[in-house]
């Protein structure tokens, strides 16, 4: 039906190659930026350490060699690296959770916070800290936070299974549960003694300090498994963004795949949040920023958002440990301070290009 009005031959091949090169280039840049920034971050602190010494210490740790300077080795490997690794892994996990939730629910506001995951975790943590209630005795805050953070997702899943909830209903339900859990947490905080109150408050802000390598490794394993799964599903996530009807006619069993994906990303986000506390904005801002640069194809968007989220959280960590040094601020304060204006900037600058 092509008339003579536009006789030029379409050349998607060249466009696609350029776009793919740009996308891969962006991912590689983010990976390199994360590595360099990690090296730099390990030099920051009250004890002066050079990047070369950081590099040597990490090599010593990886190769199992005898360190030349045990003090530097201890500071780098045992004190500074766990927080750096935790920043990278948690930033990655929060960002991929955000990007998947936004794509599968077709909603630019979806993230671990608006889906109620963070507030569920907050409630679980408050229960453990204030009234000493632990779901599994002796496991402390982490298990409580993890299990309670899964609750809102379970309610959403139940709704969609038995009430045929639309993506919009699912996110509204997440928001409703977020308010409910926040209110319950605040109620506990009102009756808490000042010491507990301070602990809960610090937890609610979110922090990567004090994370040990064992905890970071657990998060790392969950994030890697989650990433493999969502990356495998990224093609189908692309189709889900077209709407349920179109996705079905293109061969995707939308309802089932959405449930499985929601469970997978909830577990990733819940694991991150239960170890670090509530770190806001990374899950929301990182995907949107990356989308504005490399487009909406989830095959590239997921890893790119992950590495960009890792970079953002590491930058926030750096700011948190330097801005009022020697005091260390919880990283959640910084992510919100950076994330808020960044999000505002995105809305004003790119609203028409990135989301409707």
């Amino acid at each position: 039906m092509n008339g003579d009005t536009s006789p030029v031959k379409s050349d998607f091949r060249t466009e696609y190659r350029k776009l793919t090169a740009k996308r891969i280039g962006f991912i590689i840049t983010c990976v390199i930026a994360c590595l360099l920034l990690s090296l730099f971050a390990a030099t920051i602190g009250s004890y002066p350490i050079t990047p070369g010494e950081v590099f040597d210490s990490i090599l010593d740790a990886i190769l199992g060699r005898e360190p030349s300077d045990i003090t530097i080795y201890h500071i780098v490997v045992n004190l500074r690296m766990p927080a750096i690794v935790a920043s990278l892994v948690c930033g990655f996990g929060l960002a991929i959770s955000g990007v998947c939730m936004q794509s599968m629910l077709k909603n630019p506001l979806a993230d671990p916070y608006t889906m109620g995951i963070s507030s569920g975790a907050g409630f679980g943590a408050a229960l453990a800290m204030i009234i000493g209630f632990e779901l599994i005795a002796g496991t402390g805050v982490v298990v409580n936070a993890f299990i309670f953070s899964l609750l809102p997702a379970m309610v959403v899943l139940f709704l969609s299974k038995f009430r045929n909830a639309t993506p919009t209903m699912m996110i509204l339900c997440g928001i409703a549960l977020m308010y409910l859990f926040n209110a319950a947490t605040q109620l506990f905080m009102l009756i808490a003694d000042p010491e507990d109150l301070s602990a809960v408050y610090r937890w609610m802000i979110g922090s990567v300090d004090g994370t040990d390598m064992g905890e970071a490794s657990i998060v790392l394993i969950v994030v890697i498994l989650g990433t493999i799964y969502v990356q495998y599903m990224s093609n189908q996530l692309n189709l889900m963004g077209l709407g349920d009807e179109s996705a079905k006619t293109l061969g995707v069993d939308v309802e089932r795949k959405r449930l499985i994906l929601l469970i997978a990303v909830t577990i990733v986000a819940a694991t991150v949040v239960s170890f670090t506390g509530i770190i806001g904005f990374i899950g929301l801002v990182a995907p949107h920023m990356v989308r504005a640069i490399i487009g909406t194809d989830n095959r590239y968007l997921i890893p790119a958002s992950g590495f960009f989220g890792a970079f953002l959280l590491l930058v926030s960590h750096l700011v948190a440990i330097t801005i009022v040094s020697p005091l260390i601020l919880p990283v959640g304060v910084i992510t919100s301070c950076i994330g808020g204006p960044l999000f505002l900037y995105l809305i004003l600058r790119n609203s028409k290009e990135v989301w409707a």
């Binding site: 039906m1 536009s6 031959k9 050349d11 009807e245 293109l250 061969g251 989308r291 909406t296 989301w355």
Partner: protein, 279 residues
Amino acid sequence: MTDDLKDSISILMEPRKSDDNTPLGIKIEDMTFGYDENNILENVNLEITEPGLVCILGPNGVGKTTIVKCINKLLKPRGGRVFVNGTDVSSMGLLDVAKILAFVPNSQQSVFSMTVPEAILMGRHPRAGWTTSERDIKVVDAAIDLLGLQEFSTRDIRQLSAGQTQRVLIARGLVQEPDILILDEPTSNLDVKYQMDVMRFLKAYARDRRIIVLMVCHDLNITAAYADRVILMYGKGVFADGKPAEVLTAGNIKTVYHVNAEVSDFNGIPQVHLIPEYD
């Protein structure tokens, strides 16, 4: 059209591969569909086995879109069975259905930005793997050329007009390389020229690829001019079925649409003239 363009689009106009001897066709047996207490369709029987452009006509709410959505598994009938290429769709997965059937919706809203070629590329999912192959890109290029979408190729689909979006959705259906292409009012937002262009193209596409193109339409005269077969729906089922001249009679139009019409003959094509009534 230049030779260059003809060369580009030939990949999409190749005849359907029937090397595995799969029978082509849609067969509906005693199908009933409804919401709550009400049945919209009752004991519908229909068989389409000949390649060509088949149009479904009928008044609003008669179940035209419902019947096509039962064929491609978007809706589940209450009773009866639907066969596509000889297989009961209830025993097929959505991906298997998508390999045979492409569905072009009437409209679509996208939340996130996407360029026109990327949106068309989505149609390759049933046939492609996780990665995008050279052939996928070639087919997308062909569809853009075929539907004259070159000038929009860098545009975000959300910036297109309703008519342009419909052409993108048709292109997405074509790159699925289906045996059966189903369209839900694909020309509703197009001007007269594009309506005729799309109809002419779909007729040629069905003939050249030897596939079934089944579309829901509203315009009686455009249907009469291009359809190989017309299915007129009324009263919870098929009211009349046959060649345009057999179906589009003044009597049928009066019964189904409750309007008076005269039907004349223009080079063998029935022309429907609606007779207006004034208060």
